[in-house]
Symmetry: C2
Subunit: 151 residues, 2 copies
DNA sequence: GATATAATTGAAAATAATTTTCACTTAGCG
DNA sequence: CGCTAAGTGAAAATTATTTTCAATTATATC
């Protein structure tokens, strides 16, 4: 059971090419604008809003439009590659999506995002089902704190 | 350790008067508009968006304005009495705030909200602190399912 | 490599959600 | 009762997002 882990440069490069391949597989064309959005978000260790992706993406592809950032996020989300992060201070930023049974550890200062596995909430879940009469399908678990860089 | 629990009519009445008292204590005036917003949200078993509060609130106080709904929510939030709920499908709805160490169980169908206690994530939290170098301050835990009514 | 064509683009316009402005009203104190 | 600062709703302004549209371009086919 591996602990939370900042993605290495290797891994983010793989993520970038994987997302590009997924877009192509689905029949979407690979354009400079889409490449820019993918590059920026796949290689970011922190969550980014559409406006931030736009800003950073223009460094890669200067004619990038904000509209295309929205449109590309929509497609990446549909492919299950990115998702919104929910935070107390706002939920309009995106991250590489959780894969399988994963949860988040978030830095309150810098927005850094880490992924972890290995929680076991099945007992609690069963207890709640019994007490409430709900059929439980899913859960979210997020920890908030300050990363070592920010301390 | 009590299980999750739909608030009784008694309890929601108390919540309503408690919120009104808190607003008054803080020096805010008690108006028909504020009363309407408080009534609607304090007595609701489901999360409500500002527009829904506005709509329901007009049944209580017909000249209520949407602006005042926003302004009242802002004050109730500042007093720690209400908070936004975060859901996969959107985070613009409000609920009576969690009190102390509580978490949510949400119905995916009807929006019903239940509160529970008694999770223990301290071991997991310590493990993550050790592995990540973060100092963890807080966590969110939410279960999603279908309530007994909706099944 | 050239060509055809449907997908994609960015700018501008439209829409939706929220906030601000403002002239009028009123809750709550004396 | 009055006084007055706080609060109101309508309308305007702002912000985030989506839609429209004419021009461009990625890719399949030759
Ligand atoms: Mn889990
Ligand atoms: Mn907890
Ligand atoms: Zn940090
Ligand atoms: Zn339900």
């Amino acid at each position: 059971m591996a602990g939370p882990h900042i993605s290495s440069e290797e891994e983010t490069k793989e993520r970038t090419s994987g997302w590009i391949a997924s877009l192509a597989d689905r029949g979407y064309r690979i354009t400079g604008s889409r490449r820019a959005v993918v590059d920026v978000l796949a290689e970011s260790g922190t969550s980014l809003s559409p406006a931030e992706i736009y800003e950073q993406g223009r460094a890669v592809h200067k004619q990038l439009g904000l509209v295309t950032v929205y449109r590309t996020l929509e497609k990446l989300e549909e492919l299950g590659l990115v998702q919104r992060v929910h935070r107390p201070d706002g939920c309009h930023a995106y991250i590489p999506a959780l894969r399988g049974h994963e949860h988040l550890l978030l830095c309150e200062q810098c927005g850094r995002v880490e992924y972890f596995r290995g929680d076991d909430l099945s007992e609690l879940s069963r207890r709640l089902e019994g007490e409430s009469g709900y059929t439980i399908h899913d859960h979210w678990l997020q920890f908030f704190g300050v990363c070592s860089q920010c301390q």
